[in-house]
Amino acid sequence: MNDKNKKVNIDNVSFKLIYQRNKDFLLSVVAIFLSVFLFFQFVLPQISELQAMSEEEKAVKERIEVLNYNFQFFNQMDSQNLDQDLLTASSALPIQKDFAGVLVAVSQAAGAAGVGLDDFSFRVGDLSTPSGTLVVNQVPAIEIELTIRGDIVKAKGFIQKLSQALPLSDVVIVQTSGQTSTIATNFYYRPFPPLIKFDDKIKSRDLTPTDRDLLTKLMQWRDNALVVSVNQATPSSQLTPTPTATPTPTTVPVVSNTPAPTQP
């Protein structure tokens, strides 16, 4: 108890004596403390920063590789072919409810199958909903109910021709009674997305051979329809089809996450 409260007095002489005795040792200790302090305070953060820079450098290199690839990919892409592909794809899947296109497709299919069209009625969907659209398989559609003059064999021919007409359709129900057939069909459309954002971290991939084949098939269907349309352009045509009724996509809403191009 007394030992703990005991005060130790070191006078200047004693202090100098201790200092003189341990002078070399003290300098080393100060140098070590200073080194440790500098190491932790300056060197270590700098090394961490260097590591972060190295990682960022790696990431930037990867992004540059992707950007370079994408630039080459889109730079070499033929604009005319791309416009043609867009036109074909948009003929098959219009950007809006293409009533005129639907009527043309129906009329051409009827003409090609040799059946007469009677009534037709559109079912656009529930207009009280914000979208006001009928959605089938996550794609908006217009449902049309057609009545054709013809038995099931004629209806079969009409369905075949309609399946190769653009805009794309999907027969839902076929009902035949005697010489009258009623066919309910969905015609699809897909609006442009409000904004398109590009992901510069992903390499753009070209269309697959299957996609190319599909585009070629759609192009053939469109061309065939035009031929039929020209051949049908007679006063007796019921719905007076026009060669092209598909809304042509002119501008594409684009929002890029890349900076605005710099003027050369």
Partner: protein, 147 residues
């Protein structure tokens, strides 16, 4: 030790100074700028790809009614006429008429064959068979569950 720490500091500073990061970032910005000039093409390409995906999905989900109707109609003997026919995604209902019971029987046999082969039907039900005494024609009504 102090010297080693000092040397480390100098090395780290020099390494930071000679880092290619700033030039790489400038290169990245330049590429982004050049790519931004191709945004119209990129947008069109994205839309084409998206549309192709949806078109493929629609076409793959489309039921080939032509082929189904064709197969069913081809089973009909020549002296059988279709009175009514209704087909949707899952069901078929049809009524046929004929003056020959043998032909109707042939038709039923053929439909049963199709069911056995699991080509179109999973099940065929004979709903009714009646005779119209005025026309002297049999009327056969059948229902089928489609594959």
């Amino acid at each position: 030790m102090l010297g080693v720490v000092g040397l480390s500091m100098i090395i780290v500073v020099v390494l930071k100074f000679i880092s290619p990061l700033p030039s790489l970032q400038a290169q990245e910005q330049d590429l982004q700028g050049r790519l931004a000039r191709l945004d119209s093409k990129r947008g069109k390409f994205l839309i084409v790809s998206d549309r192709i995906k949806n078109i493929s999905s629609i076409l793959s989900g489309r039921i080939d009614y032509f082929q189904k109707i064709d197969t069913i109609v081809n089973q009909l003997p020549t002296d059988i006429a279709i009175s009514s026919f209704s087909i949707d995604k899952a069901n078929l209902q049809m009524t046929v008429r004929s003056s020959s019971l043998t032909s109707l029987n042939t038709f039923i046999d053929r439909l049963l064959e199709l069911t056995g082969e699991k080509k179109i039907f999973t099940k065929v039900i004979l709903n009714s068979l009646s005779l119209d005494t005025k026309t002297n024609k049999y009327s056969l009504s059948i229902e089928g569950n489609l594959l």
